[in-house]
């Protein structure tokens, strides 16, 4: 008995010590108390030099471009205005978010960055962080910034209730990649890639050669693909305009019939035998190895795909296949945006805003596009002669850009903080229907019920 008491008391003390973090409320920033009477821009040469920190998640060659852009800024405009920006790579988007959250929770404003890069899928999370200064407020104080120049699809991605939270920085959409040589070998016209899921299924069947482990198409649809396949049919994936008019509380794809349409088409395609689904496959590797004729992925993967294919065969790019031939919505925009953080120093906020303006300018976006493969977020970029020259030389990139320009800004990934969960539910239920484990109505109602429950739980806990 005594022994038990000893163990219990030791455990209790440990737990209480461990749980007793020190949430001391030291140096709170002057949150939004500054009314922003003086946006920088005029005679700021006399002001003290401002050092900005910029956390991003771009690695490899993309990081080199970020560094190059920042260095150019520091040498030109930055030098004039006394602003120096230091970009720091902070791991993947997920890791970067953990760091931001840790610093916000610890109220460690000294170590927060001034600028953060965050992906489209995390807007719902970013807008709930109190230290984020909404870009809408900054635009309101600065008449020199023309938001109409930016791609409306991307602006909509990062907006909530028509207020923009972060300024788009790198754009991408989903795109169909195909192997032209394999099309020719199978007797298909390589200049006519599939336009609908039905055509995709037929062509995939002709491109498949199972004895030599060669597939026409490989995909296990998740939220990323479904955002476009549901959105292009006209409706929204979730209520309140998929979370952009107000907090999303339930999904809508079950009521509009969009999911059922998709499932019917998708199952027909899979049943023709040329589509592999449900297995984990590294599509880009299979494609580069000549064992896969078609796949869909982000447009930002284009450069990497071209590099790994080398001169083994000719790569083609095409619009993302439609569910019904009459669909007009197009595809959802992915990519990332830059957010300004309030660290209690108005001079830094102004400087960070100045850098954002620089990074979304047409010339900067051209450098960014050529270096990384992300689309320019600024429409004025297409007026530059260098851009037209570049697109003529690289017609594969042009397909991607044309697709974006023919897409409706209303087609978006849902703005919810439980996108990962919803993605898993969609994936599981779509599979169980395609593999004949559930009938179509049960699959649709099950995925809607699960998604609604996840949304409800999150919304209840985060009022």
């Amino acid at each position: 008995m005594k022994k038990l008491m000893l163990i219990v008391s030791a455990l209790l003390l440990t737990v209480s010590l461990a749980a007793c973090g020190n949430p001391s409320s030291s140096n709170q920033p002057a949150a939004n108390t500054s009314t922003g009477t003086s946006p920088s821009g005029s005679g700021s040469t006399s002001a003290e030099p401002v050092n900005l920190t910029f956390w991003h998640a771009m690695s490899g060659t993309n990081e080199e471009v970020i560094k190059q852009v920042a260095a150019t800024y520091n040498e030109t405009i930055g030098k004039e205005k006394g602003i120096t920006i230091t970009p720091v790579f902070q791991g993947s988007y997920g890791d970067l978010m953990k760091k931001v959250r840790a610093a916000v929770q610890a109220k460690d404003f000294k170590n927060l960055p001034d600028l953060v890069q965050s992906p489209a899928s995390d807007v719902a999370v970013m807008k709930s962080i109190p230290s984020i200064v909404w870009a809408q407020d900054l635009i309101g104080k600065d008449s020199s910034f023309q938001i109409d120049d930016l791609e409306p699809n991307a602006v909509q991605t990062f907006s909530f209730q028509n207020k923009i939270v972060g300024i788009p920085f790198a754009n991408s959409t989903i795109l169909l990649y195909y192997n032209k040589s394999m099309f020719a070998d199978a007797g298909l016209d390589a200049s006519k890639p599939p336009a609908t899921i039905a055509e995709l299924g037929e062509m995939a069947a002709r491109l498949t050669d199972k004895p030599s482990k060669q597939w026409g198409f490989i995909l296990t649809p998740e939220l990323y693909q479904m955002s476009s396949w549901i959105g292009m049919q006209g409706g929204f994936l979730g209520n309140n305009e998929s979370g952009r008019a107000d907090t999303m509380t339930a999904v809508e794809f079950d009521k509009t019939g969009a999911m059922k349409n998709f499932l019917t088409e998708w199952k027909k395609a899979v049943d023709l035998g040329g589509v592999q689904t449900g297995a984990d496959a590294n599509v880009k590797e299979e494609f580069a190895a000549g064992k896969l004729a078609m796949f869909v992925d982000s447009t930002a993967a284009l450069r990497g795909v071209l590099n790994s294919v080398g001169d083994k065969f000719e790569v083609g790019t095409a619009f993302y296949p439609k569910v019904n031939a009459s669909d007009k919505g197009g595809v959802a925009v992915g990519g990332s945006a830059l957010y300004v953080m309030d660290r209690g120093d108005q001079a830094k906020i102004d400087a960070a805003w100045d850098y954002i303006k620089y990074s979304s300018a047409p010339e900067t976006q051209l450098i960014w596009h050529q270096g990384t493969g992300y689309f320019p977020v600024n429409r004025k970029t297409y007026d530059l002669p260098a851009m037209n020259e570049h697109l003529e030389k690289n017609p594969l990139f042009k397909t991607a850009i044309d697709q974006l320009h023919s897409s409706s800004p209303q087609v978006q990934e849902p703005m919810s903080a439980v996108n990962n969960e919803i993605s898993t539910f969609l994936k599981e239920e779509i599979l169980s229907f395609v593999l004949n484990k559930k009938d179509i109505d049960t699959a649709v109602s099950d995925m809607a019920a699960k998604a609604n429950k996840a949304l409800e739980e999150y919304n209840r806990a985060n009022k």
């Binding site: 440990t14 490899g60 610890a106 930002a300």
Partner: protein, 275 residues
């Protein structure tokens, strides 16, 4: 009888060889990939080793990341952290196995209980503590939470308990004090355990990812595992430079292992109480 033993020996060797190959295969493959071009890597059928070894991937590692700096940082963190753990856990283990004091059992259980709290759960609280101390983005900040380890303390205490108390009694009769017995008799006798702790701790700290990522903000403070992610391409599939980076940062771990493994084997064969 002899042939049976012989057959048995061959069997054991064959099984060991297969197990060894299985373990070493990923390392060999990453070495092979580190010399391949992107297009060769994705050829079909897959190759284990390149036809023409290229050094471009290594050039990328050294030109696009300050990998030497990362290795220096990791080495400092792993070495100081391991040394700290050896000192704190051996001293604590000594107290818990040889000394008598009030609440000894309670404190022992108290320390053991900390092992049950997952490290990830403490990440944010630790961050807040380190932030309050103003140690973010410093070596002290990375190392501070790594200086003690309940697991290693427990391992050492269990080991000390297996050493007969007769050694201590005999040493005390000859005029030895606690400090001298600890330094000159107990620690040398515990070399195998200390070596295995050193290896485990060094590898663990060398490979630490999330904590160093959280507390460091500038590129020059990064450790190797965080640094190596700079070579990843979010949307691409350029494994060559990553594998080259992995190969480079593997070398120090192997060296540390080789040095202390000798001690490990030596200790196992020479240890134990004789009479």
């Amino acid at each position: 009888m002899r042939t049976k033993k012989h057959a048995m020996e061959i069997m054991v060797n064959v099984v060991s060889l297969i197990a060894g190959l299985l373990v070493v295969f990923p390392v060999l493959y990453s070495l092979g990939v580190s010399f391949m071009s992107a297009s060769e890597l994705s050829s079909y059928p897959p190759k284990l080793f390149p036809d023409h070894a290229i050094w471009d991937n290594y050039a990328t590692v050294f030109s696009s990341t300050p990998v030497i700096r990362f290795m220096g940082n990791s080495f400092l963190v792993a070495a100081v952290g391991t040394l700290g753990r050896l000192i704190t856990s051996s001293l604590a283990a000594y107290a818990f196995s040889y000394l008598e004091f009030r609440g000894k059992r309670f404190w022992f259980l108290f320390i053991l209980a900390t092992m049950m709290i997952p490290g990830d759960m403490l990440m944010i609280t630790n961050y807040m503590t380190i932030a309050d101390m103003g140690l973010i983005d410093s070596y002290s900040g990375i190392i501070a939470v790594m200086l003690v380890s309940a697991t290693f303390m427990f391992m050492l205490r269990q080991h000390f308990l297996t050493i007969s108390r007769d050694y201590r009694d005999a040493a005390f009769v000859d005029g030895c004090g606690d400090v001298r017995f600890y330094l000159q008799i107990l620690l040398p006798m515990s070399m195998p355990v200390l070596s295995s702790i050193t290896i485990a701790s060094f590898l663990g700290l060398w490979n630490a990812y999330l904590w160093p990522l959280l507390v460091t903000n500038s590129e020059s403070m990064r450790t190797v595992q965080v640094g190596i992610t700079m070579l990843q391409f979010p949307e691409g599939m350029v494994y060559g430079p990553i594998m080259a980076g992995v190969t480079v940062i593997l070398i120090p771990s192997i060296i540390v292992f080789l040095i202390f493994q000798k001690q490990l084997v030596f200790g196992v064969t020479s240890g134990g109480l004789k009479g």
